[in-house]
Symmetry: C2
Subunit: 229 residues, 2 copies
Amino acid sequence: AIFNQACALLGPKNKYQGLHMVVTAGPTQEPLDPVRYFTNHSSGKMGFAIARAAAEQGADVTLVSGPVNLTPPPGVELIRVTTAEEMYRAVMDAYPKADLVIKAAAVADYRPATVHGQKMKKGGEMAIPLVRNPDILAELGKKKENQILVGFAAETENLQENATGKLDRKNLDMIVANDLTMAGAGFKADTNIVRLYFRDGTEKELPLMTKDEVARQILHEATQLLTKQ
Amino acid sequence: AIFNQACALLGPKNKYQGLHMVVTAGPTQEPLDPVRYFTNHSSGKMGFAIARAAAEQGADVTLVSGPVNLTPPPGVELIRVTTAEEMYRAVMDAYPKADLVIKAAAVADYRPATVHGQKMKKGGEMAIPLVRNPDILAELGKKKENQILVGFAAETENLQENATGKLDRKNLDMIVANDLTMAGAGFKADTNIVRLYFRDGTEKELPLMTKDEVARQILHEATQLLTKQ
């Protein structure tokens, strides 16, 4: 409500002033020993672009990021984490005061069941037992009060089915889906091609654009949802 | 022999002219699916420093590197690879014409037994079956003719025992050992503290120095071995 009033009073330059946002970005790293770890190809570019675009337009942004090689956006509170468990704690701490959460991080679903204190020595055949990491997005969905919750689905097949399934299951308001197999989309690129799915069943397809442009579109749609509440 | 004659004729500026070197650097990435992979914390800095120092002094350097965020040294032939199997093939191709091989890469000992073509979906508990990667250094040791072969041992415990065991087992001429638990040593730092172990049972401890200085020391010791042949 405070955000709505602020929006009405302010011009486009500071159009997100008064908005408290949490954005997550990057991969997580799940250690097996002091040297080896599991991770994924997330570059953090999408989450950083969202944090930058929001801060430029006056939002109060907490960016929780896994290990990435990116310059922190000016005016953003950056919390660096390594593992999914660290990201879970940082996001949960920031959640109560957030109006909008955009979870662009690619959090590892699993981690090695045992983290060895010393570098493991070679043996014969082996298998690494894994355990589930906390599901940050599902937890946010369960604990949701007035927050708008936006997730991502990066898929290599069955894009719509996987994305809308996740939207429902995790109690999201919007999900940003991209097909990692398309040229110009995905983790390493500076561009993205996304489709937005909303809780009311509507969807919106965005053309190929830079991640900065995608970031502004996602922010526009997400804050529209906030003013509709 | 050609290298020895060249050394005798040339001054210190081009003191490695005529020397054919293969240097490996960085981690390898072992994919589980299009998104997820296993890797390690190697930054590639040590291998890149060696390649740069050697090229600056006239050596003909092939640098085979896993994924890193480093600027390629000028005058070096850089071959980028991702997995241990790709590194194995690139190194074996370059081996016959090499006088000196310095293997600074942190190659994954294991890879997931199955690489899934699509992004894997969450299930319950799981374990990832692994298979052994080719042991590049051991293969180089077996196929050695006149080459000088230098390996690295990055350890968190039993440094001397692990390093000299590897030296013998893999038929190396010298091994560069560092204790990852020491401040100023290891993967991410710009400095290193190393101990050199030689085939004849001698060893040499170097003080804390930059990776560029360590690189020059390693090159000096390795080319000494070459002239002794």
